[in-house]
Amino acid sequence: METIKKKVKIPLTVEQKIKRRSFISFGAFLALSGTAVAGWNWLLDAPEENPGITAGAGAPLRRALNKTELFFRNFFSNNHLVKTYPKERAAKTIRVNSLIGIEDDENFDIANWKLIVKCPNQRNLAIDIEEIKALPKTEIIYDFKCVEGWDQIQHWGGVKLSDFLTHYQIENQSLPRYMGLATPNGAYYVGLEKDSVLHPQTLLAYEMNGEPLSIDHGAPLRLIVPVKYGIKNLKRIGIMSFSNSRPKDYWAEQGYDYYSGL
Protein backbone atom coordinates (compact mmCIF):
# COMPACT_ATOMS: atom_id res chain seq x y z
CA MET A 1 0.00 0.00 0.00
CA GLU A 2 1.18 3.44 -0.71
CA THR A 3 0.99 6.07 1.97
CA ILE A 4 1.35 9.72 1.17
CA LYS A 5 4.43 10.97 2.89
CA LYS A 6 4.10 14.67 2.89
CA LYS A 7 4.65 17.26 5.54
CA VAL A 8 1.94 19.77 5.60
CA LYS A 9 2.27 22.99 7.51
CA ILE A 10 -0.75 23.93 9.45
CA PRO A 11 -1.39 27.61 8.74
CA LEU A 12 -0.76 29.73 11.78
CA THR A 13 -3.70 31.34 13.42
CA VAL A 14 -3.63 35.10 13.84
CA GLU A 15 -2.94 34.73 17.55
CA GLN A 16 0.03 32.52 16.84
CA LYS A 17 1.38 35.00 14.32
CA ILE A 18 1.11 37.80 16.84
CA LYS A 19 2.85 35.74 19.46
CA ARG A 20 5.60 34.68 17.13
CA ARG A 21 6.33 38.15 15.79
CA SER A 22 6.25 39.64 19.27
CA PHE A 23 8.61 36.95 20.50
CA ILE A 24 11.11 37.55 17.70
CA SER A 25 10.93 41.33 17.99
CA PHE A 26 11.27 41.46 21.74
CA GLY A 27 14.01 38.85 21.61
CA ALA A 28 15.97 40.97 19.16
CA PHE A 29 15.21 44.06 21.20
CA LEU A 30 16.50 42.48 24.40
CA ALA A 31 19.57 41.06 22.65
CA LEU A 32 20.46 44.48 21.25
CA SER A 33 19.80 46.17 24.58
CA GLY A 34 22.10 43.62 26.19
CA THR A 35 24.80 44.37 23.63
CA ALA A 36 24.42 48.09 24.27
CA VAL A 37 24.73 47.59 28.03
CA ALA A 38 27.77 45.36 27.54
CA GLY A 39 29.36 47.95 25.26
CA TRP A 40 28.70 50.70 27.78
CA ASN A 41 30.23 48.65 30.59
CA TRP A 42 33.26 47.93 28.41
CA LEU A 43 33.72 51.67 27.86
CA LEU A 44 33.26 52.51 31.54
CA ASP A 45 35.59 49.74 32.73
CA ALA A 46 38.20 50.28 30.03
CA PRO A 47 41.63 50.87 31.57
CA GLU A 48 43.08 54.35 31.68
CA GLU A 49 45.52 55.28 28.94
CA ASN A 50 49.20 54.76 29.61
CA PRO A 51 50.46 58.01 31.11
CA GLY A 52 52.61 59.92 28.64
CA ILE A 53 52.10 63.23 26.91
CA THR A 54 48.41 62.74 27.66
CA ALA A 55 47.05 60.94 30.69
CA GLY A 56 44.04 60.52 32.91
CA ALA A 57 41.39 59.57 30.34
CA GLY A 58 40.00 56.13 29.56
CA ALA A 59 42.01 54.60 26.71
CA PRO A 60 39.10 54.40 24.21
CA LEU A 61 37.95 57.90 25.10
CA ARG A 62 41.45 59.28 24.48
CA ARG A 63 41.55 57.55 21.10
CA ALA A 64 38.20 59.15 20.28
CA LEU A 65 39.44 62.60 21.36
CA ASN A 66 42.50 62.30 19.14
CA LYS A 67 40.47 61.11 16.14
CA THR A 68 37.92 63.86 16.64
CA GLU A 69 40.78 66.39 16.75
CA LEU A 70 42.01 65.17 13.36
CA PHE A 71 38.54 65.57 11.89
CA PHE A 72 37.97 69.09 13.19
CA ARG A 73 41.48 70.28 12.29
CA ASN A 74 40.31 70.02 8.68
CA PHE A 75 38.16 73.06 9.33
CA PHE A 76 40.98 75.14 10.78
CA SER A 77 42.04 78.16 8.78
CA ASN A 78 44.09 81.24 9.54
CA ASN A 79 41.34 83.16 7.75
CA HIS A 80 38.89 82.17 10.49
CA LEU A 81 39.21 84.89 13.06
CA VAL A 82 37.76 85.16 16.52
CA LYS A 83 35.11 87.84 16.80
CA THR A 84 36.48 91.14 18.10
CA TYR A 85 34.67 93.85 20.06
CA PRO A 86 34.94 97.60 20.64
CA LYS A 87 37.06 98.66 23.61
CA GLU A 88 34.05 99.68 25.74
CA ARG A 89 32.86 96.09 25.84
CA ALA A 90 36.04 94.82 27.52
CA ALA A 91 35.78 93.79 31.17
CA LYS A 92 37.36 96.27 33.61
CA THR A 93 38.29 93.50 36.01
CA ILE A 94 39.73 90.54 34.21
CA ARG A 95 38.94 87.23 35.83
CA VAL A 96 41.78 85.30 37.46
CA ASN A 97 41.05 81.59 37.43
CA SER A 98 44.33 79.83 38.12
CA LEU A 99 47.81 80.70 39.38
CA ILE A 100 49.71 77.50 38.70
CA GLY A 101 53.33 78.32 37.97
CA ILE A 102 52.93 81.76 39.60
CA GLU A 103 51.84 81.39 43.22
CA ASP A 104 54.08 78.34 43.61
CA ASP A 105 57.25 80.20 42.55
CA GLU A 106 58.78 82.14 45.43
CA ASN A 107 62.14 82.68 43.74
CA PHE A 108 60.74 84.60 40.80
CA ASP A 109 62.21 88.04 40.29
CA ILE A 110 60.58 89.98 37.49
CA ALA A 111 63.63 92.25 37.13
CA ASN A 112 65.79 89.30 36.07
CA TRP A 113 63.22 87.81 33.75
CA LYS A 114 64.22 86.87 30.24
CA LEU A 115 62.39 84.78 27.70
CA ILE A 116 64.49 81.72 26.91
CA VAL A 117 63.90 80.52 23.34
CA LYS A 118 65.29 77.10 22.59
CA CYS A 119 65.70 77.43 18.84
CA PRO A 120 65.88 74.43 16.57
CA ASN A 121 69.44 73.89 15.24
CA GLN A 122 70.94 77.05 16.70
CA ARG A 123 71.91 78.45 20.07
CA ASN A 124 69.31 79.55 22.58
CA LEU A 125 68.06 83.10 22.80
CA ALA A 126 67.47 85.11 25.97
CA ILE A 127 65.22 88.05 25.23
CA ASP A 128 64.24 90.76 27.71
CA ILE A 129 60.87 92.48 27.85
CA GLU A 130 62.07 95.79 26.38
CA GLU A 131 63.19 94.00 23.22
CA ILE A 132 59.76 92.42 22.92
CA LYS A 133 57.99 95.72 23.55
CA ALA A 134 60.03 97.29 20.75
CA LEU A 135 58.41 94.93 18.23
CA PRO A 136 55.20 95.99 16.40
CA LYS A 137 52.30 96.00 18.85
CA THR A 138 48.95 94.33 18.23
CA GLU A 139 45.85 94.68 20.38
CA ILE A 140 42.83 92.44 20.57
CA ILE A 141 39.48 92.67 22.34
CA TYR A 142 37.75 89.31 22.16
CA ASP A 143 35.66 86.85 24.13
CA PHE A 144 38.07 84.74 26.20
CA LYS A 145 36.69 81.21 26.67
CA CYS A 146 37.42 78.95 29.59
CA VAL A 147 37.10 75.17 29.33
CA GLU A 148 34.87 75.39 32.41
CA GLY A 149 32.26 77.18 30.33
CA TRP A 150 32.56 80.85 31.28
CA ASP A 151 33.60 83.55 28.86
CA GLN A 152 34.61 87.18 29.25
CA ILE A 153 35.38 89.96 26.80
CA GLN A 154 38.96 91.01 27.48
CA HIS A 155 41.44 93.50 26.07
CA TRP A 156 45.04 92.39 25.53
CA GLY A 157 48.05 93.96 23.89
CA GLY A 158 51.40 92.54 22.79
CA VAL A 159 53.30 91.24 19.82
CA LYS A 160 51.84 88.78 17.36
CA LEU A 161 53.57 85.46 17.93
CA SER A 162 54.09 85.13 14.17
CA ASP A 163 55.73 88.60 14.06
CA PHE A 164 57.95 87.58 16.95
CA LEU A 165 59.03 84.37 15.21
CA THR A 166 59.70 86.25 11.97
CA HIS A 167 61.74 88.90 13.77
CA TYR A 168 64.01 86.37 15.43
CA GLN A 169 64.21 84.41 12.17
CA ILE A 170 62.83 81.31 13.76
CA GLU A 171 60.05 81.04 11.24
CA ASN A 172 62.18 81.17 8.12
CA GLN A 173 63.68 77.80 8.89
CA SER A 174 60.98 75.21 8.60
CA LEU A 175 59.19 75.56 11.88
CA PRO A 176 58.73 72.26 13.74
CA ARG A 177 55.17 71.03 14.15
CA TYR A 178 54.77 72.04 17.78
CA MET A 179 55.71 74.79 20.19
CA GLY A 180 56.06 74.18 23.91
CA LEU A 181 55.74 76.94 26.50
CA ALA A 182 56.47 76.67 30.21
CA THR A 183 56.56 78.91 33.27
CA PRO A 184 60.06 79.72 34.64
CA ASN A 185 59.64 77.12 37.41
CA GLY A 186 58.25 74.54 34.97
CA ALA A 187 55.10 73.98 37.04
CA TYR A 188 52.74 74.86 34.18
CA TYR A 189 53.35 73.97 30.56
CA VAL A 190 51.40 73.79 27.32
CA GLY A 191 51.86 72.49 23.80
CA LEU A 192 50.50 74.18 20.69
CA GLU A 193 50.46 72.94 17.12
CA LYS A 194 51.95 75.13 14.41
CA ASP A 195 48.57 76.26 13.02
CA SER A 196 47.59 77.92 16.29
CA VAL A 197 51.08 79.35 16.80
CA LEU A 198 50.92 81.13 13.44
CA HIS A 199 47.28 82.19 13.73
CA PRO A 200 47.19 85.98 13.16
CA GLN A 201 45.41 86.63 16.48
CA THR A 202 47.86 84.72 18.66
CA LEU A 203 49.81 87.16 20.85
CA LEU A 204 52.65 87.28 23.30
CA ALA A 205 50.85 89.77 25.53
CA TYR A 206 52.43 92.26 27.93
CA GLU A 207 49.43 94.57 28.39
CA MET A 208 45.86 94.23 29.62
CA ASN A 209 43.35 97.08 29.27
CA GLY A 210 46.25 99.25 28.08
CA GLU A 211 48.24 98.74 31.31
CA PRO A 212 51.18 96.42 31.98
CA LEU A 213 50.15 92.89 32.96
CA SER A 214 49.57 92.26 36.64
CA ILE A 215 51.46 89.47 38.35
CA ASP A 216 48.26 87.40 38.59
CA HIS A 217 47.72 87.75 34.85
CA GLY A 218 51.20 86.55 34.03
CA ALA A 219 53.58 89.51 34.07
CA PRO A 220 55.79 90.22 32.30
CA LEU A 221 54.73 88.11 29.30
CA ARG A 222 51.88 85.70 28.70
CA LEU A 223 50.29 83.87 25.81
CA ILE A 224 46.92 84.91 24.34
CA VAL A 225 45.71 82.33 21.88
CA PRO A 226 42.05 82.96 20.97
CA VAL A 227 41.76 79.70 18.99
CA LYS A 228 42.23 77.75 22.24
CA TYR A 229 40.52 77.44 25.60
CA GLY A 230 42.02 79.41 28.49
CA ILE A 231 43.96 76.36 29.70
CA LYS A 232 46.41 76.86 26.81
CA ASN A 233 46.87 80.62 27.46
CA LEU A 234 50.00 80.22 29.57
CA LYS A 235 50.89 83.03 31.98
CA ARG A 236 54.44 84.15 32.81
CA ILE A 237 56.19 82.47 29.89
CA GLY A 238 59.71 81.40 30.85
CA ILE A 239 60.80 78.95 28.19
CA MET A 240 59.76 78.56 24.56
CA SER A 241 60.78 75.40 22.73
CA PHE A 242 60.01 73.57 19.49
CA SER A 243 59.56 69.93 18.58
CA ASN A 244 58.01 67.70 15.99
CA SER A 245 56.14 65.63 18.56
CA ARG A 246 53.64 66.91 21.08
CA PRO A 247 55.33 68.76 23.94
CA LYS A 248 54.02 67.92 27.38
CA ASP A 249 50.85 69.72 28.37
CA TYR A 250 49.61 70.23 31.93
CA TRP A 251 45.89 69.73 31.35
CA ALA A 252 46.28 66.99 28.72
CA GLU A 253 47.88 65.02 31.58
CA GLN A 254 44.68 65.56 33.60
CA GLY A 255 42.35 63.91 31.11
CA TYR A 256 41.61 66.95 28.91
CA ASP A 257 41.77 66.99 25.13
CA TYR A 258 45.30 67.86 24.00
CA TYR A 259 44.07 70.00 21.13
CA SER A 260 41.41 72.00 23.03
CA GLY A 261 40.95 74.14 19.93
CA LEU A 262 38.07 76.49 19.26
Binding site: T3, I4, K5, K6, K7, V8, I10, I18, R21, S22, I24, S25, F26, F29, L32, A36, W40, G56, A57, G58, L61, R62, A64, L65, T68, F72, F75, F76, S77, H80, L81, V82, K83, D143, K145, C146, V147, E148, G149, W150, D151, P226, V227, W251, Q254, G255, Y256, D257, G261, L262
Partner: protein, 230 residues
Protein backbone atom coordinates in the same frame (compact mmCIF):
# COMPACT_ATOMS: atom_id res chain seq x y z
CA UNK B 1 11.83 49.33 10.83
CA UNK B 2 14.65 51.89 10.54
CA UNK B 3 12.52 54.46 12.31
CA UNK B 4 12.07 52.15 15.27
CA UNK B 5 15.78 51.32 15.32
CA UNK B 6 16.96 54.91 15.24
CA UNK B 7 14.36 55.78 17.86
CA UNK B 8 15.66 53.15 20.25
CA UNK B 9 19.31 53.91 19.55
CA UNK B 10 18.63 57.56 20.24
CA UNK B 11 17.31 56.80 23.72
CA UNK B 12 20.61 55.63 25.34
CA UNK B 13 22.75 57.93 23.18
CA UNK B 14 20.80 61.02 24.20
CA UNK B 15 20.91 59.71 27.76
CA UNK B 16 24.73 59.66 27.67
CA UNK B 17 24.79 63.10 26.05
CA UNK B 18 22.60 64.56 28.80
CA UNK B 19 24.59 62.87 31.55
CA UNK B 20 27.97 63.98 30.18
CA UNK B 21 26.42 67.40 29.57
CA UNK B 22 25.70 67.62 33.31
CA UNK B 23 29.35 66.79 34.05
CA UNK B 24 30.37 69.69 31.81
CA UNK B 25 27.71 72.11 32.99
CA UNK B 26 28.70 71.63 36.64
CA UNK B 27 32.04 73.42 36.00
CA UNK B 28 30.16 76.66 35.35
CA UNK B 29 26.61 76.20 36.59
CA UNK B 30 25.45 79.73 36.04
CA UNK B 31 21.89 79.20 34.91
CA UNK B 32 18.61 79.53 36.72
CA UNK B 33 15.19 81.03 36.30
CA UNK B 34 14.35 84.13 38.25
CA UNK B 35 11.49 86.58 38.11
CA UNK B 36 11.91 90.12 39.47
CA UNK B 37 15.16 89.08 41.10
CA UNK B 38 13.71 86.10 42.94
CA UNK B 39 15.39 82.86 42.01
CA UNK B 40 12.73 80.28 41.25
CA UNK B 41 14.88 77.48 39.95
CA UNK B 42 18.64 77.11 40.27
CA UNK B 43 20.24 74.62 37.89
CA UNK B 44 21.11 72.53 39.81
CA UNK B 45 20.82 72.12 43.56
CA UNK B 46 23.74 70.60 45.44
CA UNK B 47 21.86 67.39 46.36
CA UNK B 48 21.18 66.76 42.67
CA UNK B 49 24.90 66.95 41.79
CA UNK B 50 25.90 64.76 44.66
CA UNK B 51 23.20 62.17 44.02
CA UNK B 52 24.40 61.68 40.44
CA UNK B 53 28.13 62.00 41.29
CA UNK B 54 28.52 64.97 38.99
CA UNK B 55 31.15 67.23 40.67
CA UNK B 56 34.79 67.37 39.51
CA UNK B 57 34.33 65.35 36.32
CA UNK B 58 34.62 68.02 33.60
CA UNK B 59 37.39 66.32 31.59
CA UNK B 60 35.57 62.99 31.66
CA UNK B 61 32.31 64.65 30.69
CA UNK B 62 33.91 66.34 27.69
CA UNK B 63 35.52 63.10 26.54
CA UNK B 64 32.17 61.26 26.63
CA UNK B 65 30.29 64.20 25.11
CA UNK B 66 32.67 64.49 22.13
CA UNK B 67 32.49 60.76 21.43
CA UNK B 68 28.74 60.27 21.70
CA UNK B 69 28.03 63.43 19.69
CA UNK B 70 29.05 61.37 16.66
CA UNK B 71 26.48 58.67 17.40
CA UNK B 72 23.82 61.28 18.11
CA UNK B 73 24.54 63.04 14.83
CA UNK B 74 24.79 59.93 12.63
CA UNK B 75 21.70 58.33 14.14
CA UNK B 76 19.72 61.53 13.67
CA UNK B 77 20.94 61.84 10.10
CA UNK B 78 19.89 58.25 9.38
CA UNK B 79 16.42 58.91 10.79
CA UNK B 80 15.93 62.07 8.75
CA UNK B 81 17.23 60.49 5.53
CA UNK B 82 14.92 57.54 6.05
CA UNK B 83 11.83 59.63 6.71
CA UNK B 84 12.58 61.67 3.60
CA UNK B 85 13.21 58.79 1.22
CA UNK B 86 10.53 56.44 2.54
CA UNK B 87 7.88 59.14 2.40
CA UNK B 88 7.21 58.69 6.11
CA UNK B 89 7.55 62.45 6.50
CA UNK B 90 4.02 62.76 5.11
CA UNK B 91 2.69 61.20 8.30
CA UNK B 92 4.98 63.25 10.53
CA UNK B 93 5.11 66.81 9.26
CA UNK B 94 2.32 69.09 10.39
CA UNK B 95 -0.06 70.26 7.65
CA UNK B 96 -2.62 73.04 7.48
CA UNK B 97 -5.16 71.19 9.64
CA UNK B 98 -2.67 70.13 12.25
CA UNK B 99 -2.72 73.07 14.59
CA UNK B 100 -6.50 73.11 14.85
CA UNK B 101 -6.59 69.36 15.35
CA UNK B 102 -3.78 69.42 17.88
CA UNK B 103 -5.92 71.68 20.04
CA UNK B 104 -8.70 69.07 19.84
CA UNK B 105 -6.23 66.36 20.81
CA UNK B 106 -5.16 68.37 23.83
CA UNK B 107 -8.78 68.91 24.95
CA UNK B 108 -9.53 65.26 24.37
CA UNK B 109 -6.47 64.06 26.31
CA UNK B 110 -7.32 66.32 29.20
CA UNK B 111 -10.85 64.85 29.19
CA UNK B 112 -12.43 68.17 28.39
CA UNK B 113 -13.78 67.06 25.06
CA UNK B 114 -15.45 63.75 24.35
CA UNK B 115 -15.13 63.30 20.59
CA UNK B 116 -12.02 61.66 19.27
CA UNK B 117 -10.06 63.91 16.92
CA UNK B 118 -9.15 62.60 13.46
CA UNK B 119 -6.02 60.52 13.36
CA UNK B 120 -3.97 58.60 10.86
CA UNK B 121 -0.78 56.93 12.07
CA UNK B 122 0.05 59.91 14.25
CA UNK B 123 -2.42 62.44 15.55
CA UNK B 124 -1.97 66.15 15.13
CA UNK B 125 -0.34 66.69 18.52
CA UNK B 126 2.10 63.90 17.79
CA UNK B 127 2.94 65.44 14.43
CA UNK B 128 3.84 68.68 16.12
CA UNK B 129 5.74 67.04 18.95
CA UNK B 130 7.73 64.64 16.76
CA UNK B 131 8.61 67.33 14.26
CA UNK B 132 9.60 69.70 17.04
CA UNK B 133 11.88 67.14 18.66
CA UNK B 134 13.75 66.68 15.36
CA UNK B 135 14.14 70.44 15.05
CA UNK B 136 15.39 70.48 18.64
CA UNK B 137 17.95 67.79 17.79
CA UNK B 138 19.05 69.91 14.87
CA UNK B 139 19.23 72.90 17.20
CA UNK B 140 21.38 70.97 19.65
CA UNK B 141 23.87 70.15 16.90
CA UNK B 142 24.03 73.75 15.67
CA UNK B 143 24.32 75.30 19.14
CA UNK B 144 26.72 72.52 20.11
CA UNK B 145 29.03 73.25 17.19
CA UNK B 146 28.68 76.97 17.91
CA UNK B 147 30.21 76.50 21.36
CA UNK B 148 32.53 73.64 20.39
CA UNK B 149 34.35 75.48 17.56
CA UNK B 150 33.26 79.13 17.87
CA UNK B 151 36.19 80.39 15.78
CA UNK B 152 36.16 77.85 12.95
CA UNK B 153 32.33 77.80 12.78
CA UNK B 154 31.97 81.48 13.60
CA UNK B 155 28.91 81.79 11.35
CA UNK B 156 27.05 79.18 13.40
CA UNK B 157 27.99 81.03 16.57
CA UNK B 158 26.69 84.20 14.98
CA UNK B 159 23.49 82.40 14.00
CA UNK B 160 23.00 81.32 17.62
CA UNK B 161 23.40 84.86 18.93
CA UNK B 162 27.02 84.57 20.04
CA UNK B 163 29.02 82.14 22.15
CA UNK B 164 27.47 83.05 25.47
CA UNK B 165 23.88 82.82 24.26
CA UNK B 166 24.55 79.64 22.27
CA UNK B 167 25.56 77.89 25.49
CA UNK B 168 22.29 78.98 27.12
CA UNK B 169 20.30 77.70 24.12
CA UNK B 170 22.20 74.41 24.17
CA UNK B 171 21.31 74.03 27.84
CA UNK B 172 17.66 75.05 27.36
CA UNK B 173 17.24 72.45 24.61
CA UNK B 174 18.47 69.78 27.01
CA UNK B 175 15.87 70.80 29.58
CA UNK B 176 13.39 70.57 26.70
CA UNK B 177 14.39 66.95 26.04
CA UNK B 178 13.84 66.04 29.65
CA UNK B 179 10.36 67.58 29.63
CA UNK B 180 9.58 65.89 26.31
CA UNK B 181 10.75 62.58 27.72
CA UNK B 182 8.47 62.84 30.77
CA UNK B 183 5.36 63.58 28.68
CA UNK B 184 6.36 61.04 26.03
CA UNK B 185 6.72 58.29 28.62
CA UNK B 186 3.42 59.19 30.23
CA UNK B 187 1.63 59.03 26.88
CA UNK B 188 3.14 55.62 26.09
CA UNK B 189 2.02 54.27 29.44
CA UNK B 190 -1.49 55.63 28.87
CA UNK B 191 -1.60 54.22 25.33
CA UNK B 192 -1.02 50.76 26.69
CA UNK B 193 0.62 47.52 25.77
CA UNK B 194 -0.53 47.18 22.18
CA UNK B 195 1.02 50.55 21.32
CA UNK B 196 4.26 49.76 23.12
CA UNK B 197 4.55 46.48 21.25
CA UNK B 198 4.18 48.46 18.04
CA UNK B 199 7.12 50.68 18.95
CA UNK B 200 9.29 47.62 19.47
CA UNK B 201 7.90 45.08 17.01
CA UNK B 202 6.42 47.35 14.40
CA UNK B 203 2.89 46.00 14.13
CA UNK B 204 -0.33 46.74 15.85
CA UNK B 205 -3.20 44.40 16.52
CA UNK B 206 -6.54 45.74 15.42
CA UNK B 207 -9.47 43.90 16.86
CA UNK B 208 -12.11 43.42 14.21
CA UNK B 209 -15.69 43.48 15.19
CA UNK B 210 -17.38 40.21 14.30
CA UNK B 211 -19.58 40.66 11.28
CA UNK B 212 -22.98 39.09 11.73
CA UNK B 213 -23.42 36.34 9.20
CA UNK B 214 -26.68 35.21 7.69
CA UNK B 215 -26.14 31.52 8.27
CA UNK B 216 -23.35 29.89 10.10
CA UNK B 217 -21.03 27.99 7.87
CA UNK B 218 -19.01 25.35 9.47
CA UNK B 219 -15.77 24.69 7.78
CA UNK B 220 -13.36 22.08 8.82
CA UNK B 221 -9.84 22.27 7.71
CA UNK B 222 -8.65 18.95 6.50
CA UNK B 223 -5.15 18.12 7.27
CA UNK B 224 -3.56 15.23 5.57
CA UNK B 225 -2.37 12.38 7.60
CA UNK B 226 1.23 12.65 8.39
CA UNK B 227 3.20 9.71 9.56
CA UNK B 228 6.31 11.12 8.12
CA UNK B 229 9.82 10.48 9.09
CA UNK B 230 10.69 13.95 10.02
Amino acid sequence: MLMRWTHWINFPVLGVMIWSGFLIYWANDAYGISIFGFTIIKFFPEWFYNYFHIPQRLAEGMAFHFLFMWFFFLNGLLYIMYTIFSGAWRELLPNKHTFKEAWQVLLHDLHIRKTTPPQKKYNAAQRIAYTAIILMGFGSIITGLAIYKPVQFYWMTWLCGGYHFARILHFALTIGYVLFFIIHLLQVVLAGWNNFRAIVAGFEVIEEKPIPMPEPVITTEKTEHNDGNN
